[in-house]
């Protein structure tokens, strides 16, 4: 078992290199990189600065000299061959240096670190609520299988499953925020947040969080509820529960003492995967609600060709993803001693 996990952990290294190398080379070969962007920006400034009649000619002129472009290329490592600059980048990453944003000139790690609490906040709340609601709901649905309650809740859960969270987010935003004005139009806190007393700060935060949390929850909700329901029903149908009931155990104790414990195993296995979702968030939901989290940071850096940030976000999220996978396996091993890895 230990050998298995050591091997899995070591396998992170080639996979991590594969992922980053792939994205690194894409950022290299795709035109419109940071230097082109700077040239375009310098051009625009020239046009705006020159103004009037000279503007037409200004567009044609190359705003940066060749030496300047060479300097920029050298500065960002675009002058070296792909593999060399990748290795240089990787070497820095190992030392904990993710580089500097080409757009904001801030250290990438600082930018990411300031976003993590926001994504973490939504991720944790959504996860706690999902587990808190899905497990009891799944239990009730399993026990009351094929009753009116089961059928009605199934349809509702299905609708939530079919529609992606960000689409529901837009819908909620339009109706509850735009039309009825019950909730705010996105953002994490109000503009006057800093002036509010502590209690009102919390209320303000909660008020802004309701809609995004719903959007976050909806996707995982259906899968979790049905997983709980189906595994509990499998276990209820198993011989050991039948035996327990046959020997005169009350139904309640047969469910909670025997069947439920075994049914939690599959739920536990998905636990490890949450780590990457919790920390990196969903950029579609963050974009819809204008929340400045990790997801939106990654998305905007792609749009702005801020490659150090793109790669920085990628490093963090892919490491979390890979570690999460191993954690999942570890959860299985801890919860279910019958499982053998080889």
């Amino acid at each position: 078992m230990t050998a298995y996990f050591i091997r899995r952990t070591l396998l992170i290294i080639p996979t991590f290199i594969g992922i980053t190398l792939l994205v690194f080379s894409i950022t290299r070969f795709v035109p419109g990189g940071p230097i082109e962007r700077m040239i375009a920006e310098a051009q625009r400034m020239q046009v705006e600065g020159g103004g009037g009649a000279g503007a037409g000619a200004g567009v044609q002129r190359q705003p940066l000299s060749d030496e300047q472009i060479e300097f920029l290329k050298q500065y960002y490592g675009f002058d070296k061959p792909l593999l060399n600059s990748y290795l240089a980048w990787l070497g820095k990453v190992i030392q904990g240096d993710l580089g500097i944003s080409t757009r904001y000139q801030d250290p990438v790690w600082e930018m990411i670190r300031s976003r993590i609490p926001i994504s973490l906040y939504f991720g944790l709340i959504a996860m706690a609520l999902t587990y808190g609601v899905c497990i009891p709901l799944g239990i009730v649905k399993a026990i009351r299988h094929k009753t009116a309650f089961d059928n009605v809740s199934s349809i509702i859960v299905f609708i939530g499953y079919a529609i992606p969270g960000w689409v529901i987010g837009i819908y909620l935003l339009v109706w509850l925020a735009g039309w009825w004005d019950v909730f705010p139009l996105g953002d994490l806190v109000s503009e006057n947040f800093d002036e509010l007393p502590l209690l009102q700060k919390l209320l303000d935060l909660a008020w802004h969080s309701v809609l995004p949390v719903i959007a976050y929850m909806i996707g995982a909700f259906a899968a979790m509820t049905f997983l709980m329901k189906n595994t509990l029903m499998d276990n209820l149908a198993a011989d050991y529960v039948r035996t327990a009931i046959a020997k005169g155990l009350p139904f309640r104790r047969a469910v909670f003492g025997h069947a439920l414990r075994n049914s939690l195993i599959p739920i536990a296995t998905s636990f490890g995967n949450n780590i990457s979702v919790i920390l990196t968030g969903s950029f579609l939901i963050e974009k819809v609600f204008n929340i400045d989290g990790m997801g939106l940071l990654g998305y905007e850096s792609v749009l702005e060709r801020d490659y150090p940030v793109v790669l920085g976000v990628l490093v963090i999220s892919s490491l979390l993803f890979l570690i999460g996978n191993i954690l999942s396996d570890l959860c299985v091993a801890v919860v279910d001693p019958r499982v053998q890895f080889d």
């Binding site: 996979t15 299905f158 689409v167 529901i168 339009v174 950029f283």
Partner: protein, 349 residues
């Protein structure tokens, strides 16, 4: 006759039929797809039938009919809505029959004294209102549906073809081939594909086929992995060993023996793949990296609804359409899954 329907298949189909929710959903879905194929007859700015001076015209399909044909003073395509009003005012024998929604998804219907988006109006026959550039929302929904459903069907075909061939080879042959592709899939599926799609889509202007290719290139892993797992399990069964002992080739074993046994799993993935394709296209369109602007698309309507919060009919109608389609597809999927893999549960009274 060599081709016979397996009695087991018939039994499975009966079981599917008996799950009303899924069966009705399938019926409605097929009806929607068929209707969308004839969308030109239902939602179009061209008239269905025009009767002019004793002649009957069917302008729906084919080349545009110039206005001069109907005695109008312009060479470009006839404006049938105007023509209908004109004939009505004249009152003679001539008449125009318009489709129920007399707008196509591209034309901007600007009205005097109002700025688009304008709310739903039965009088103007904008049943779902108009969008931010004055185009009929219902027309865009209908044509957008047709585009999205065929896009995701094509995407599904491509991912299934790749997934089934690579996946069953991985599961069947195992060894170095399996290991190589395992790593490749692990890397490939850890790459945040939407980022890559956005980067690529901002360089080449995507069209239907480019988008299909990109989504396929980053979406083939799921099915491959599933197929690998199933084939791996099937390979260990005795019938494979027996076929091998009889001297069957690898290709024969995979295609004639293993594949038919995995069909039920493959089929049960179809509806969810379709739903996934629709959502992926909508997400890209929402972000502005999907189909180029004039194309009718749900994601673009969602984006408009998000940007124009007061125009409730935009997000209202597109979300309703999405809910309807995706819920139907999900119901079909659940019913298929249940029909192919029935779980008989003991319940306690």
């Amino acid at each position: 006759m060599r081709f016979r329907i397996n009695p087991l298949t018939i039994k499975k189909f009966r079981r599917f039929q008996s799950i009303r929710r899924g069966y009705v959903s399938l019926f409605v879905m097929v009806l929607m797809i068929v209707l969308s194929l004839g969308a030109e007859l239902l939602v179009n700015s061209r008239a269905l039938v025009v009767r002019y001076n004793g002649d009957v015209y069917w302008p729906t399909y084919g080349h545009p009919v110039p206005g001069t044909t109907f005695g109008l003073d312009y060479q470009h395509e006839t404006n049938y809505r105007q023509l209908a009003r004109q004939f009505e005012a004249e009152g003679g024998e001539n008449w125009v029959l318009m489709p129920p929604v007399p707008y196509n998804p591209y034309e901007n219907d600007f009205r005097e004294n109002t700025l688009p988006p304008s709310p739903p109006s039965f009088r103007d026959r904008h049943f779902c209102g108009t969008d931010a550039s004055g185009r009929d929302v219902l027309a865009r929904l209908v044509y957008g549906f047709r585009l999205a459903i065929f896009f995701s069907l094509a995407l599904m075909g491509a991912t299934f073809a790749t997934g089934i061939s690579i996946g069953s080879a991985m599961g069947y042959f195992g060894g170095a081939f399996d290991l190589t592709f395992q790593r490749l899939i692990e890397i490939w599926s850890s790459v945040p594909n939407l980022y890559v799609i956005i980067i690529i889509a901002s360089v080449v202007i995507p069209n239907f086929w480019i988008l299909l290719f990109i989504l396929w290139a980053f979406g083939w892993m799921g099915m491959t992995w599933t197929m690998r797992t199933i084939t791996y399990k099937e390979r260990a069964r005795d019938y494979v060993l027996a076929a091998r002992a009889l001297g069957a080739s690898h290709v024969r074993i995979i295609f004639r023996h293993i594949l038919p046994n995995t069909v039920s799993v493959i089929v049960s993935y179809v509806p969810f793949q379709v739903a996934g394709g629709i959502v992926a296209l909508a997400a890209l369109d929402f972000l502005g990296f999907g189909l180029p602007p004039p194309e009718p698309s749900w994601g673009e309507l969602l984006q408009q609804g998000w940007a124009n919060l007061s125009a409730w009919w935009l997000s209202g109608s597109v979300v309703s359409a999405m809910v309807l389609t995706l819920v139907l597809v999900t119901f079909i999927g659940e019913a298929v899954r249940e029909a192919l893999d029935p779980k008989m549960h003991t319940t306690y009274e």
